[in-house]
Amino acid sequence: MHWKTRSRLTGWILGAVTVGFLLFQWAPMLTMFLLSFSGEDGGTTFPMNGTSLHWYRKLWEADLFDDFKPPMLRSFLLALLCSATTVVLSVSAAQAMRGRFRGSGAYFYLLLLGLMAPGILVGFGFAILTRLLGIEGSWNTTAYAVHVSWALPFGFLTMLAVFNRFDPRLEEAALTLGATRLTAFRRITWPLVLPGVIGTALFGFSLSYDEYARTLFTSGSDGTLPLAVMAQLDRQLTPELYAIGTATTAMSLGVIALCSLGFWLRARALRGRPG
């Protein structure tokens, strides 16, 4: 048939576009990974001049001026804090949405607003707010407040999707059997939505850990890792930055892989259970 061959041709063209884009998407990152292992005389481009862990060691033994460890620690703590807060706020907000309180329609759009508002505007606006109130900005107060507002919509949507998908009869059964609402939530609802909660925690962590624009305006004098990276890039691009980039990327991917593994094991364990 005539159209079948044509369709196969389309497949080849689309396939070439897709593979080409994937190569284009991965090539810069792979370049950076490779160059982070270049020798002591290695520059920021090829040739690598040998392979070594020199730039990672330099990262570890850094002196006062380009010490990335304090910002890295701050970023990590901030991300943990943001993750925990996002989980609490998202779960309660999504649970509240099931209660269809008055104005829940507008409430939904209010939370979604954080998704649409760009970081540069939110960060700048919040900086004005704190200045008017006379509050000194710092990474664990003002930057924290803004980071949560960024991760919250993602967590909220995740939790809404999870609550929409589970079987309400399970809760009804528990309540019919005399469990209080709180007990039913703790014993039935919470374990069922736990995968979504982990996803929300992951969003909260990685969105905060990688955030640049919102932090730039709100973190005060002690910056986070993205700010330190950008400041170093302003001074000079060194393979040390590639080492940081590779390390952070490896960390992000490691956390995702760990969570995926957890989901997979859980799904397998649930499948294994009788009836």
């Binding site: 159209w3 389309t10 998407q25 209660g99 209010l110 505007l121 606006g125 707010l129 992000s252």
Partner: protein, 287 residues
Amino acid sequence: MSTIRPGSPAAFWLALPAGLWMVGAVVLPVLLIAWVSLWGGQAVSPDSPLTLDNYARFLSNGSYLRVIGDTVLQTITIMAVTGVLGYCIAYFLTVKVTRPRWRLALFLAFVIPFWTSTLIRAIAFVPFLGVNGVLNAALMALGVVERPVQAFLYSRLGVSMAQVSLYTLLASGPVVYMLNGIPPALREAAMTLKAPPRTVFRRIVLPLTLPGIVIGQVLVLLNVLADFITVTTVGGNKLAFLGNLILLFYEGSQIRATAVVSVLLMLMMLAGVAVALRVVDVRRMGG
């Protein structure tokens, strides 16, 4: 019956913290920007009289107007490129790849970089695009060019390449979602009725994925309009879009000018979203 009673005070109290957080950290700051942009007078303070002078001053400067034009042009360019690329990739991954294992592998290869830092990904473009960079080396090895191309790094071309790489997933994701929602029976019915593939695509697939295209375009629009990181890392301060102008004014402590540019940026975003809402009813997408 569920663990929360409809319309109960509990629901209200559970909703309150997140709502207050969003009002305090997003709504109020954005409203403050609009207010500050209207401040007149000598001293920068809340007691200032409200005027439109700041806007008039900004919009009467030719080079600032050029920045607005550049930003719009850049945004439209990236929207077009990521739109076409994203649709092709979405269509290939959901329709053309039939083996589940391959589909998963390609899909992961597409999505995973999105989970890593945008800043790091933008920086990674520097050694990729440079004169001694990988792209030039590859082009010379293939014999496409004889000498390394200077124009990749610190140029509009380089910024565009980085932005396309960063934002194509945003254009593609909603299309994948919509494509997955099309019952195969629809296409089969059309083909049984002897519609050629082009007609099936134009009359069935394209209209059904249109909401996905529009949502993807809105996401790309919002991100490119506000993007200043790619421009500073890959563009090397030789270029400026509105986002960079905001940063520049802010670092120069010109709060009112910063607010003016922010409001203009916001208006452009709202205009884009309004156009999108006219094209499709986004609320119908979930249903």
